[in-house]
Symmetry: D2
Subunit: 304 residues, 4 copies
């Protein structure tokens, strides 16, 4: 049974399924999205693309971009990055501020907001033009010069970003933020505003399914060892307090965003991106989670 | 480079390393163990055994037994088991009682004490002779009729088991314990008292490296799907609040015990057991963690 | 305007008021109480008794008894008692186990369950016949040989006392309980089962309105300094997480029980007991709180 | 024994006592203060002033000013103020952000930082010139046109006010802040920068010892009922997580500031201000606490 066959079958099944979940509304720009959008793209180890639905339509990848900023920062800082951020799952959502206070301003992992903000702070310290240099890095990894930030989404998010401001101020109080708070938050909101289609997303993350090396160009984006470690963090921390559930039901390292996108990789097998804007109660794409669970069940493949 | 060669090399390296950590002392019986014990056994997919050091000496596997009780309960209950226990990592150790209170008596996962106690409660409800039937199940999985509980260790643990008594009483208050508290705790302490050598441990867990099927006898211990799910839970929850760290550095599903043992499996590749009694601050074998990190770094293999 | 006049006026007002709150049901024996019961007794500094309603009918004083056990223990231990218990308000109810864990087994104050259990543990260590000696002390303070425990209520409470068992086990784990857990809990449940009428209750607490001295017999029950301190603890901790509210609205030191009783004292002025079984959401008598708020508003007297 | 005699005796005793505690250093301007400063002023119900030591030297009253802003806001808003702030003690200091998150952005009481910030937000909504109108109010209450803000201290505090910024952003996220964050924080820092001597402080708070009425001018600053309620909140919440301890040992409503000042009132008896900059571990003046404990012990007077 080919990947395409399975993808199409599951796509059709889920298109018929009753609607679940709600589109994220706290970011105004995201609330305008057509909630029925649904796209999938899988790229296999032979570099074959398997696509269905709205897989060529760009959407806001939101937190998925945190994997890319982590990749760049980890590449530059090496293991010293972990002096300022942990690699442990965070437990539950209500804990964000709680645990940050308990752990003296050290975020649990680089994918919760606080951790991703520390990564931004690090990049600002290291790069002359962080915003330009980061998007250049993303374009290189994705082999796509069109990838860009969305200023509208960034502005929309900034307008209601009080909780993120609370997080960064608390970390600043603990001495874990080195740069100006406003500058770091601006970069953070910009980062989260990047838009990609499922096709572009799956393409971009090929390095994580291929031990750090771009399978097309042969460029070693990041070392084998660091690749495995980023995958490990995605596995344990990629879905907020639903990380265990995703690992349990899907069995792949992955990362979600509130725009409704999910990326997952099966090392040496494939990279897969799914997009459907309605979110479940934990803030992850309802249809995306369903799709991936059915997909790994059907293929009987997972990292376990 | 053969597995045996690498194992011996790392074993020698770590034997020369300065001592770290402390033997668990809260269980009197465990505090008598010679802290210099160190053994490793790897069984590969060709059923070859690779052993060094004290790999034939039985030790108390403690919490590692929780994987076996979960296997039996999950096999019997199916997915309904998750009505009473979650599959999410627990965050941090100090949270045990906190999160149990926050989550209305539903333990975060089956490997924290509270979760393993609920598994015991389930087995007591289902089995006529839970103690006998469970050890029979372990013997069948391990193909070893000699495996047994240690009454001394169980008694030793019971004598100071106040925190576990606090946990079970809190869950009883929330209605998540069906049987008599004393009976459940007795079974729980007995379960944790099982003794195995590294060789026996690696042998016992072959089913988890082989998609649920015993590679020697061909018996399907538990289904493919459930095997993957148990491995996923080990990956995210197997090392208390060091689960992320283990996943990050070792990259394999595994489970530790305060007796100093660790089991880890690489699906379709090998099952590996390590034993060294000195524990790091998180309660996991210091040398065992070191060994496994160096092993997957050296072999450049992990599930990621 | 005489006290009796005001009491009768408010009594009539509140008897007409629509019913609020629910009778405590978690203790079976308490759930049988007629929820319309309502009694008040005030004893002034001239030893005049002012009573209305069901003020001669005995009810279960529950946690109010914790003031009496504290008095006896504080008298015996002096300030060393505070090595094992704090004098700070506890914050909120959900914190009981949380804060106990955070504070290493030292309860916040002697009126939350955990603190009252430590007081029991202390008395068991010091007294040969704790149950007999304590009730003798209560009888002497109340000048009433009829005061007694209710074995039925104690048994009823014990049957569902899992949360208290969780608390005492956690404290035992931290080393803050010296005696056998079962023995301490039995004493604790017995203590809470004492029955008194409003008249008896107001009489018993006269020593706290009179600087430690029984105004009738002249016996110094406890020293002036310790009396002020017990009143201070009642002021800040007497109503669980409604202590601030009671202090704010009523302005007197007091203590409530889930049986629907409240005792309050105005030093050098009066002692007042109110009983009405329906409880508000915080577990304090709805009508009792209303009555006392209106009473201190009407009299324009409070300690502030 | 006259108040002056006792004050002088205790003053001399404590001047000989070995130094304890540390001057607050997180606000640069405060760290320059001579740590040996020590002053006391008591004003009795006959309007007699009893002073010793540095009682005429102005110092930064810091959080003590929160009683004054609460008085103004409560006077204007009436009981509707409590829709946005509670009157319960906060439990422990580490809880500040924790409880704010748990309680959906409603601060526990008006004296913790979060609560005082909400009071500022309310005043900004109601007043045209909040900074001018508030200091005018303070001058009227204190009968002293010289009382003023210290711009240096406000600036100094703002420079490191990240935790307060975290608090206000979190409350804004929950919808409990109506005005611009920067504007509210500026007002809050200015408020805390007010300077007074012990004499001025004791004079200012006479209204709280006199049922809301200025004993000199006869002006009713705030109603009797509201006065009692403000005193009640000081009693339960005036000393952060040492409120219970202060109530227990001193037995008066009071409020401390990190500048080393403490104000306490004994209704109908006296108002007393103490100043000594070294702070105990809870952030309250070490010598101030000692002095007041000895004072109420010596006089055998307290509200209890």
């Amino acid at each position: 049974m080919s990947y395409l066959y399975i993808i199409e079958e599951l796509y059709n099944q889920l298109n018929d399924v009753e609607e679940h979940g709600e589109v994220a509304t706290y970011i105004r720009e995201l609330s305008h999205i057509d909630s029925d959008k649904f796209g999938v793209c899988l790229i296999d180890s032979d570099n074959q693309y398997h696509q269905v639905g709205d897989s060529d339509e760009p959407f806001s990848i939101q937190s998925i971009a945190k994997v890319l900023s982590l990749t760049l920062a980890y590449k530059m800082a090496g293991e010293s990055l972990w002096d300022r951020i942990g690699v442990e799952p965070s437990g539950s959502p209500f804990n964000s501020l709680v645990q940050l206070e308990y752990d003296n301003g050290i975020p649990r992992n680089p994918f919760i907001n606080a951790g991703a903000i520390v990564v931004c702070d690090y990049l600002i310290s290291q790069l002359d033009q962080p915003e330009d240099e980061f998007i250049s890095f993303v374009r290189r990894v994705s082999k796509n010069e069109q990838i860009n930030y969305s200023e509208e989404i960034a502005a929309s998010e900034k307008a209601t970003g009080y909780r993120n401001a609370a997080l960064i101020n608390l970390m600043k109080d603990f001495g874990n933020i080195r740069n100006d708070i406003g500058k770091v938050l601006d970069f953070y909101f910009l980062l989260c505003s990047i838009k990609m289609s499922c096709r572009e997303l799956a393409r971009t993350f090929l390095y994580l399914m291929n031990y750090g090396k771009d399978p097309e160009t042969g460029e070693q984006v990041i070392s084998l060892s660091k690749t495995k470690r980023i995958n490990a963090i995605m596995q344990t921390c990629g879905f907020y307090d639903e990380a265990g559930e995703f690992s349990f039901k899907v069995g792949l390292p992955g990362k979600s965003g509130v725009g409704g996108g999910i990326i997952a990789v099966h090392p040496k097998q494939y990279s897969i991106a799914v997009w459907s804007p309605r979110l479940n109660k934990k803030g992850n794409s309802w249809k995306g989670m369903q799709f991936l669970e059915r997909f790994t069940t059907k293929t009987e493949q997972s990292i376990f």
